[in-house]
């Protein structure tokens, strides 16, 4: 086996540790732009595992490649909002200028042009990642200018505008043309908190148990969407024995339409990290990990600087803030492009250098998580919120929100509205007010909670389907139609992770929105469960059949019944992968019924009349078939 010095260096840096395979592959990819068969053989030899196992991780993630990519690699976002804001023209402009169809590397190896799932820029679409830099609000004109610059061999930094985005987007370590678009601030985003105040002061008056008690009393629930009580999670985690205990901050926000964590990490990173340290204090954790989605790699340098500053101030490391034996450090782990890694056990697998395949539960991460240690995983927003709660107290927090949903929620609003961006609202706000707030007129439907959420419509809501269906399709969010715009965002009514996408009356809900969402789930399935690997494809095929005018009534019933099998999948992604179709049948059934052939109960799979039409035309005769 020939020695490969470059890779040997990288392996040395990570102590030949198999569990750091993500970092190893990321560095190789960064240095040489792909990881080929020879590299895999070399890694397999050095790490003592089969090449197949290396490739298992490599081939799983969207941003890894085993073939040579271009000098410039363009990943064009394919979210529904991007498509609503002119992605088709932008894509065409890229294809023409780069001389390659999307999904390929150009012949001259200058350009790789690829589609990618939502990159968290829904408020400034169409957007693309080019050599790890973010380019937003693209137009065909801008695309041609960009490609010309690249053809002239300019480094990607030179192609960005001089005036970067607002706030920390202009920081020398970020330099991104991304805008925060913070449009409404409440108790979390208000600039009334000097970073690390709690950590530098009051924390010394608390015992770990008392911190957990405050969080429990505040009724804080996980802000990623699932809404698990945070205090309870900390308590569980603190009770399990282990040689180490782990705090993970889940910054893998991949739900299309969500971008709140991007803004928190850009503008409030101190609060997120402080939340992690407080969680570590409360639970006795010593290992801290922040899993950052690859799409936000442009923030990595900036975030690492913040960690270094904390270390210098003794807010990380040993005897933190002078508290004896309180030792905790944080490492940022970069992902490599996989929505499913937002699922906490898949995220742990990824952190261990494996493909992001969710684990069977039990055991839960709080019992057996990262490298087998008890692990507490919290969302970015949850951790930031915990800081404010500790600073002001649980009683203060109870002044905001509703009885069953205390506090505030960051909403990422995009789609057909005048003012897309981040809004911090108190729980209990009605959909109607959300629409007014962001300047949305003529709304046909709203997706609350991303594609895995539900599409709530008007028509059949009160019908018999409701009880039987609700049992199966527990929403993590929903598409809300006009009749329900009085409903409120809260854990007891419309729970949400914060993604709000608005569709006006000009939008084709089935042909554009639902199909786009289904493509997303098909692309992002890990493939482990037989159900989630196959059913979304079959369901999409059936929807296409219906949209093509070849459907019969039974096709709608079939879709509903197939959805039940999908519920047998292991993780939330699989269980909700049919929601775009199921909830749109549930709420916009009339759109389906418009397309199916109402007279036919039975699908014979073949339209004889249509098939002989050209012949009949030719011989000037009219078809005369009996309809069964």
């Amino acid at each position: 086996m020939p020695e490969n010095n470059q890779i040997s260096e990288i392996l040395k840096k990570f102590n030949n540790d198999r569990s750091r395979l993500m970092d190893i592959l990321l560095e190789i990819q960064e240095k040489q732009n792909f990881v080929n068969e020879e590299d895999i053989k070399f890694l397999s030899e050095k790490l003592g595992v089969s090449g197949g196992e290396i490739n298992e991780t490599l081939s799983f993630y969207h941003f890894f490649s085993d073939k040579e990519l271009g000098k410039y690699n363009i990943y064009l976002n394919d979210s529904i909002t991007a498509n609503m804001k002119g992605r088709t023209e932008v894509k065409k402009a890229f294809e023409e200028a780069c001389a390659t169809p999307i999904g390929n590397v150009s012949e001259d190896k200058q350009f790789g042009l690829f589609s990618t799932s939502c990159i968290g820029m829904n408020d400034q679409e169409p957007a693309a990642i080019i050599n790890n830099k973010i380019f937003t609000q693209l137009t065909p004109y801008r695309v041609r200018q960009l490609v010309k610059g690249m053809r002239d061999g300019k480094p990607i930094e030179d192609l960005m505008y001089e005036n970067f985005g607002d706030g920390n987007n202009a920081d020398p370590d970020v330099k991104a043309m991304v805008f925060n678009n913070i449009r409404r601030k409440s108790i979390i985003l208000k600039n009334d908190y000097e970073p690390y105040t709690f950590l530098k002061g009051k924390i010394r008056d608390y015992s770990p148990e008392q911190v957990i008690k405050v969080i429990e009393d505040s009724n804080l629930r996980g802000r990623g969407g699932a809404g698990f009580p945070t205090g309870l999670k900390w308590r569980f985690g603190s009770r399990t024995d282990g040689a180490h205990r782990v705090i993970i901050c889940n910054a893998d926000e991949g739900e299309p339409g969500t971008f709140k964590d991007r803004v928190l990490l850009t503008q409030y990173p101190e609060m997120v990290f402080e939340g992690m340290v407080i969680a570590a204090f409360a639970t006795g954790a010593d290992i801290g990990l922040l899993y950052l989605r690859y799409e936000y790699k442009y923030l990595l340098k900036f975030l690492n600087r913040k960690l270094k500053e904390m270390q210098e101030q003794n807010l990380l490391g040993n005897n933190i803030s002078g508290i004896r034996d309180f030792n905790f450090s944080i490492r940022i782990q970069l992902g490599a492009g996989a929505y499913v890694c937002g699922e906490e056990s898949a995220l742990i697998e990824s952190l261990e250098g494996k493909r992001g395949e969710p684990r069977d539960k039990p055991p839960f991460p709080v019992e057996k998580g990262y490298l087998g240690y008890p692990t507490i995983i919290n969302n970015v927003e949850t951790l930031a919120t915990a800081v404010k709660i500790m600073h002001h107290g649980a009683n203060w927090y109870a002044n905001f929100g509703t009885k069953d949903s205390l506090g505030t929620k960051l909403l990422s609003i995009s789609g057909d509205c005048k003012l897309p961006g981040i809004y911090e609202v108190e729980w209990g706000i009605s959909i109607k007010e959300v629409l007014e707030m962001c300047g949305a007129e003529d709304a046909q439907a709203i997706q609350v909670g991303g594609p895995s959420g539900m599409l709530i419509g008007m028509k059949d809501f009160d019908n018999l389907d409701k009880t039987t269906l609700m049992r199966w399709y527990k929403p993590s969010g929903m598409m809300v139609a006009e009749r329900f715009f009085d409903r409120r965002l809260s854990y007891s009514d419309l729970p949400t992770g914060g993604s709000i996408i608005i569709f006006n009356n000009q939008r084709d809900l089935l042909g554009d929105v639902v199909l786009n969402f289904m493509d997303f789930f098909i692309e992002e399935s890990c493939g482990s469960c037989s159900t989630c690997r196959n059913l979304p494809v079959l369901m999409k095929m059936k929807l296409e059949k219906i949209l093509a005018g070849n459907g019969v009534k039974k096709d709608i019933e079939d879709l509903l019944s197939w959805g039940k099998t999908l519920k047998a999948s292991r993780c939330g992604l699989g269980q909700t992968a049919g929601n775009p179709i199921l909830s749109s049948i549930f709420n916009f059934r009339h759109l389906y019924e418009r397309h199916v052939q109402s007279l036919k109960e039975f699908d014979n799979g073949f339209d004889l009349e249509k098939a002989v039409e050209p012949y009949m035309d030719f011989v000037h005769r009219k078809p005369m078939f009996h309809h069964f």
């Binding site: 089969s50 197949g52 992002e524 493939g527 037989s530 059936k542 079939d558 039940k564 099998t565």
Partner: protein, 231 residues
């Protein structure tokens, strides 16, 4: 602390011990729960989902869930049996399982389960996506059209250093189980035969010999799957 606990499967009370999974307890007590990706002694990972049962109205997989005192399990119900049948049908249309031409016929667990659940015409359209056959190895043929990605070969076939011969590749619809090209070159006959044996379907085929046991005299032809258990 006593290790003895009591659980209930479909109304039947069972005394058993802590630490076992639901599937194991069911088998010991003569109760049939279908499995495909489950392999005794191997790492537990519920990929096929066919052993889905319900606990507190929540779907769980019985091959991974440990029994807990007082657990009440729904197993043999029309609803669950229909989900199981639909998974079998799903596996049939998402691959290409042409039993009459398959060396594994009669020893195939997927085929045997299809008989048990009386699959006639699948509820899904005839999808049969075309996949590549990997015939590059000297000892085995990997017929991807029959692979159900159950992971049994991945979880059970190792070399003396504990390295895996088989691995997943890609994700989602493009997911495949592939043989490591380097390790495949030195694969022994013994390992190759074991790989074929552990495969529940006819996706891993040992070369050169075939049909040693004639059709009609094979495992599930004499004893339909689960017929040794009461049901």
């Amino acid at each position: 602390m006593s290790n003895q606990i009591k659980i209930v499967i479909d109304g039947q009370e069972i005394i058993t011990e802590r630490g076992k999974t639901i599937v194991e307890v069911a088998r010991e007590n003569n109760i049939f729960i279908p499995t495909l990706c489950f392999f005794e002694g191997a790492e537990k990972k519920a990929n096929c989902r066919i052993c889905t049962i319900k606990i507190n109205n929540r779907m769980m997989t019985s091959c991974t869930t440990p029994v807990v005192d007082g657990m009440e399990i729904e197993n043999n119900t029309p609803e669950l049996n229909d989900i199981r049948k639909s998974i079998i049908e799903l596996l049939f249309v998402s691959g290409n399982h042409f039993c009459p031409a398959c060396e594994k016929s009669g020893n195939c667990e997927l085929q045997a389960l299809a008989y048990r659940y009386q699959m006639m015409v699948p509820r899904f359209p005839y999808w049969f996506p075309k996949k590549q056959i990997d015939a590059s190895n000297k000892k085995i043929i990997k017929e991807q059209n029959r692979c159900i990605a159950c992971k049994r070969c991945i979880k059970t076939i190792f070399d003396e250093k504990g390295r895996r011969y088989f691995a997943f590749k890609n994700r989602g619809q493009k997911l495949e189980v592939v043989l490591d090209q380097v390790m495949g070159k030195t694969m022994s006959d013994e390992i190759a035969k074991k790989a074929m044996e552990n495969c529940p379907v006819g996706s891993i085929l040992y070369r050169e010999t075939g049909f040693e046991v004639p059709i009609g005299e094979r495992k599930y032809e004499n004893e339909p799957i689960g017929s040794n258990l009461k049901g």
